[in-house]
């Protein structure tokens, strides 16, 4: 058997390997896992086609051109930094913190909480109204017009969290010592 391959019957299945195709293409797999994936790709047209597509995308993206900057333009940037830096007094807010794609996460949480509270209030009002209507306290012919409660805006964060909780994206853990990859995914 050629070096770096394993018997076909021992090769991992697509569902276990597909998530490792990217790291394989990127050279980020430890040797043992690389061998596993290579064996699978040797026999799986779909996964090997996926690997090829990923390579193509990366190769092409790497050719994306960035306009050059002249010495004069850099000098202008530098002068701007110094001029504004010297004029600013005291520490700024700073954003070297961990990247937070929902920078207004606190505001968003309050918005969701307020929307949920409004929805509960409306539901309670509706239920109460129906109860009173049935009990004859309220004239069934009268109407109560309520402004529709704003639905919580589903953000990318929420959508992503939703996908992670019950969708198709796997949870991927990397063992710090062995660098082995463990993938937990929804079995369809």
């Amino acid at each position: 058997m050629p070096e770096g391959t394993m018997p076909l019957e021992n090769a991992p299945s697509c569902s276990k390997t597909v998530w490792k195709v990217g790291p394989f293409v990127d050279g980020e797999l430890p040797p043992a896992e690389r061998e596993e994936v290579a064996s699978h790709l040797a026999s799986c047209k779909d996964c090997s086609a996926l690997a090829l597509e990923f390579r193509k995308l990366d190769d092409f993206a790497a050719r994306d051109k960035v306009p050059p900057v002249s010495g004069g333009e850099w000098a202008s940037v530098w002068e701007g930094v110094l001029a504004q830096g010297d004029s600013q007094a005291g520490p700024d807010a700073g954003d070297g913190q961990v990247l937070d794609f929902g920078r207004h996460g606190g505001l968003r949480r309050w918005a969701i909480f307020a929307s949920a509270a409004a929805a509960i209030f409306l539901l309670g009002t509706f239920v109460g109204w129906r109860y009173l209507e049935r009990s004859g306290t309220v004239d069934p012919g009268s109407q109560v017009v309520l402004d529709p409660a704003p639905s919580p805006e589903q953000t990318e964060d929420d959508a992503f969290a939703e996908i992670q909780d019950g969708g198709t994206e796997p949870r991927i853990d990397v063992d710090e010592d062995s660098q082995a990859i463990r993938i937990y995914y929804k079995d369809f």
């Binding site: 990127d26 050719r63 306009p67 600013q88």
Partner: protein
């Protein structure tokens, strides 16, 4: 054990913090291209990218005292760059929505260097594909775009991306997989396929 380049950065940081601006100038000269390139990937306009670059270094200038020397300077710098770039794109998007005059929007779109801007008929096939790919990348969510740009265009490793974005390596893998699949889907839907090697190595 630290990389010599990382050690050098820390020495320059200390130099600046003890009052010598040459330390900061060294860091500016060393990283300005990289910061500009990352910013350009997000904002897709030279002038905007230079504006973001200036903002990034201004942030570094005023906040270097807050930098924790147990981490790498360039990781912190890239984090600031990605944050500022995303902020800039959000502000620009918000400004465009406010200026809903079609004439204003059309004028902005026709400025050189903006994407998408040029009439595809004027472009070569490869340039057209580049425009389409840039557009497709812009259509990804911020999380996925950041990972794809840092990996595919700036060649950062998974570990470097994870440190920059403040997430785990597993998350980087997951987001990159999703980003690539999404790009594949978008490019396929608009009838384009990225050119590349004709035979696979796998």
């Amino acid at each position: 054990m630290r990389d010599p380049s990382d050690e050098e950065d820390l020495i320059k940081v200390e130099e600046f913090l003890s009052g010598n601006v040459r330390g900061f100038e060294f860091l500016f000269d060393k990283y300005r291209e990289k910061v500009y390139r990352i910013a350009y990937r997000f904002v897709r306009d030279k002038e905007d990218a230079l504006e973001v670059t200036q903002e990034v270094f201004l942030k570094v200038y005023t906040n270097l005292a807050k930098f924790k020397t147990d981490s790498k300077f360039f990781t912190w710098l890239y984090r600031v760059t990605v944050n500022r770039s995303i902020d800039f794109t959000r502000r620009r998007k918000s400004r465009r929505l406010q200026d809903m005059d079609p004439g204003v929007l059309e004028a902005q779109e026709s400025l050189p260097g903006r994407s998408p801007a040029r009439d595809p008929a004027d472009l070569s096939a490869e340039a057209e594909l580049e425009e389409k790919l840039a557009g497709a990348v812009q259509s990804l969510s911020e999380k996925h775009r950041a990972v794809f740009l840092l990996h595919a265009m700036e060649s950062l490793s998974y570990k470097e991306i994870a440190a920059t974005l403040g997430c785990s390596i597993g998350t980087v893998m997951s987001r990159l997989f999703y980003a690539r699949k999404k790009l594949q889907e978008i490019l396929g839907r608009i009838g384009l396929e990225a050119p590349g090697r004709s035979k696979q190595d796998a």
